[in-house]
Symmetry: C2
Subunit: 198 residues, 2 copies
């Protein structure tokens, strides 16, 4: 048994990810996570009072790991349309890679994410905020036409759901999904450019 002092939330979340990968969400209990750590389930509950809290923290941790890369693209060099493309591509490709390399974890993650409204909404808001920032800059520079950058950002996110929503993962067969992304992006890019440009 570890002492409570050594049991950090981070260690619990790592153990929870590993337990989920092995048993799946339906069969993973707080007791399993505690057993993997060699602690009592009471020790886990002190960090995550309910199973829903633990579930939300696992999903939140995984989604937040993508955020630095997305923010770097949004704040990076290149025209606004190029950065939008790279933002959406990074969001999608990170998930394709993880779903392919670690299908057991990704299937568990997708099932949890379907229930974990709070971290998912926070993640979507973060991505839409990055897109909005780039669109707003693009409008100021005359690279993009939009009366409402936040609404345009949300539309871009929704129109690319097939590429980044975990429930669409059965469609992520490469290279077919790459070609599908390019086709959708071409259409969206045309929709973003100011009329009269090409």
């Amino acid at each position: 048994m570890s002492t409570p002092g050594t049991l950090t939330s981070e260690r619990i979340l790592e153990a929870a990810e590993e337990t989920l990968r092995r048993f799946g969400p339906a069969k993973t209990t707080v007791v399993d996570v505690a057993r993997a750590l060699g602690v009592s389930h009471g020790s886990v509950y002190r960090h995550f009072p309910t199973k829903a809290d633990l579930r939300d923290a696992v999903v939140d941790r995984w989604l937040r790991r993508m955020h630095p890369a997305l923010a770097a693209v949004a704040d990076g060099a290149g025209s606004a349309p190029e950065r939008l493309r790279l933002l959406l591509w990074t969001l999608a490709e990170t998930k394709w890679t993880r779903a392919q390399d670690d299908p057991e974890f990704f299937a568990a993650f997708a099932e949890l994410a379907d229930e974990a409204r709070t971290p998912v909404v926070a993640h979507v808001d973060f991505v839409v905020a990055q897109l909005t920032k780039v669109i707003t800059e693009g409008v100021a520079r005359g690279e993009i036409a939009s009366d409402d950058p936040a609404a345009t950002a949300r539309a871009l996110f929704d129109a690319t759901g097939r590429f980044h929503h975990p429930s669409a993962r059965s469609e992520w067969v490469r290279p077919r999904i790459d070609a599908s992304f390019e086709g959708v992006w071409t259409l969206l890019r045309n929709g973003l450019l100011p009329r009269g440009s090409s």
Copy 2:
């Protein structure tokens, strides 16, 4: 026991839909369907030699039921962009309504459709062909810009996956999904119009 003469494929498929609605795909067997019809499972196998054949026929029947309405929109009046919008809307809204009115059947259907590649591919091809026809007409009339109407049609289909793919059904909460559709459509419409028009 009915005589084989009275047991049509159509009757079997009706019984299969009802059995699926009640028990779900995992628990539905050919024997259950035969029992609901009061026939031997051998009689069902004469029409559908494998469980996969029966599954594909159920999915095919449901998807084909939408086709006359979609073809009527494609061949109907209105500008090409208006018809594309109505085609995509009809495709989406038919599924939203069914998923809401009959969630047990729709969940079963979604699960089956994930396995039933042949009828799903045929359905997607049908929808993309309708979109292609309208885009081709729109290009001829100067209402739409596209170098490759079939590729543009596929991109429209893919960019609206959130609205019509059964795996996205947890997102179909009205009126939020209606607003999302309008936002995506505005962007796609801008992407379709010839540069210089508005």
